[in-house]
């Protein structure tokens, strides 16, 4: 019975949201506000149940891991941004976060992105097969796209032609992204219509 009630609520809210396609209305607004509210509530419960309790309170109370009071303190002073007279305290936490982020980011980018991507652009171009043509296309695409983003000299002559070709490669990438985006949005519609047709109407017929 609980499942059926859940299905009916979900179906009703789906129809409320889709009613916006006709025009803005109170049903749509109700569903939208409900969604935002529930998401915020859900988020709060999850933060308590999966972060604060198991990673802070339980270790301090049960395991006497008092060292965790230090990160908890930094977390709390982040909230001082709401009080202008002591908001400077939050900079300590921000500095800590930025420092860790930058440190991890620099090494991570080099190890994870720059070197592997550079390596994968150094490709063999000797031979007369499709793989060689593909490699040539990749190298040509990378160089011309980089030329497009070179702004220290006016895009004229060879540089201008290279930039134009680079822009064509970028446009092809945008086209692929657009195609995939259409597919993504239609997939979501299919998911909802499938739910309405088979799960919801299935409870009636």
């Amino acid at each position: 019975m609980a499942t059926i009630i859940g299905i009916w609520i979900a179906a009703g809210l789906t129809l409320f949201i889709y009613s916006f396609l006709y025009k803005d209305n109170h049903f749509y607004k109700f569903a939208e506000h409900l969604y935002v509210g529930i998401t915020a509530g859900y988020w709060l419960i999850y933060t308590w149940a999966y972060t604060i309790q198991p990673m802070l309170l339980d270790p301090i109370i049960k395991n006497k891991e008092f060292i965790l009071i230090i990160p908890a303190f930094f977390g709390i002073i982040m909230l001082t941004r709401w009080f202008p007279s002591i908001s400077w305290l939050s900079r300590w936490s921000i500095a800590f976060t930025v420092g860790i982020g930058a440190g991890l980011g620099v090494t991570g980018s080099i190890q994870g992105f720059i070197l592997p991507q550079l390596r994968s652009t150094i490709l063999p171009i000797t031979g007369f097969d499709f793989a060689t043509f593909n490699n040539l296309l990749i190298i040509f695409g990378v160089i011309t796209t980089l030329v497009y983003f070179y702004f220290s000299k006016e895009h004229r002559g060879v540089l201008g032609q290279g930039a134009k070709i680079g822009m064509t490669f970028i446009m092809i990438a945008f086209g692929a992204s657009f195609g995939y985006t259409v597919m993504a949005r239609i997939s979501l519609l299919i998911g909802r219509i499938y739910f309405l047709m088979f799960d919801w109407l299935g409870t009636i017929f």
Binding site: R119, S120, A184, I186, L189, I190, I193
Partner: protein, 278 residues
């Protein structure tokens, strides 16, 4: 000429009705369209298929309800393949709102395959931290996941006995709706050389192909189409396969709209040019 003028000013609601029709009719009539698995999808399937029995697979749920139709079918197909091959899925969650979806999929397929919790699979639940967590797992997973999603110590489960860090996972599969996959590639892949497979929402999929070309990931499952291909490989057509006919016909309709829209645009532009010249 008037027809093009009308076409360029058509009420968008007619377009919505047409799109709804091309989605609903194929779902009802169920026409059979060929679904041929592509190489990036097949690479993941073959890799998982060839793993030795008992291998652990780390599955990261990095999506929420908005991506459910794209990600859930793949999750279920992957879990079926894992249990069929006696592989051990270890699930964790990076997106809080994805936790119930991951749990729902895992429990459904585990029940279907008679898998036992804590022995054949485990659900570690959500933890915050992203990068810190990904780097931390490289040292010891218990630093972040000392307890499972029900707050039970992970050491009480046999499956976790030999799991400590990335060295103990044969594969990391990220089900991704946003940009979390970049962090997996950057830290788990770049720093710890963890083998990674990605199932991406169609919106994100084109941006990840260069990781496939550079062999930083072993394969890509792109959106509902990728999930349909995986369902076909697993020989268990489900929701993704059911939706592919609607997907194809709606794409044809959108292509027609684009062609007509462009013709109308240029005809109108030409007409205005001529009128301006008079």
């Amino acid at each position: 000429m008037k027809i093009f003028e009308k076409m360029s000013r058509i009420d968008r609601r007619y377009i919505y009705i047409l799109i709804a029709a091309v989605v609903i009719v194929p779902l009802l009539l169920k026409p059979k369209l060929p679904i041929i698995p592509t190489k990036p999808v097949k690479d993941i399937f073959d890799y998982v298929e060839n793993l030795p029995e008992g291998s652990n697979i780390l599955i990261s749920i990095d999506y929420d309800a908005a991506s459910m139709p794209e990600q859930q079918p793949f999750l279920e197909a992957l879990l079926r393949q894992c249990f069929r091959n006696n592989l051990k899925p270890v699930m964790l969650v990076q997106w809080q709102l994805g936790a119930p979806l991951g749990t729902q999929g895992l429990e459904k397929i585990a029940k279907e395959c008679n898998a036992e919790y804590g022995v054949d699979y485990i659900n570690l639940g959500y933890r915050p931290g992203y990068v810190a967590q990904m780097v931390g797992i490289g040292r010891e997973i218990r630093d972040y996941f000392a307890v499972d999603y029900k707050n039970v110590s992970v050491d009480s489960f046999p499956i976790m006995k030999n799991i400590h860090n990335y060295n103990d996972f044969a594969l990391l599969v990220g089900l991704e709706a946003g940009a979390t996959y970049l962090l997996w590639v950057e830290y788990a892949g770049g720093r710890f050389k963890q083998k990674i497979a990605l199932a991406l929402n169609a919106v994100s999929a084109p941006d990840a192909y260069y990781f496939y070309q550079s062999k930083q990931i072993i394969g890509i499952v792109g959106g509902m189409k990728g999930a349909a291909e995986y369902e076909m490989l697993e020989n268990k057509p489900d929701l993704a396969v059911a939706g592919m006919a609607s997907q194809s016909y709606s794409h044809i309709l959108i292509i027609i709209f684009i062609i007509f829209g462009n013709i109308a645009f240029f005809v109108e532009k030409n007409r205005m040019k001529k009128e301006g010249g008079k």
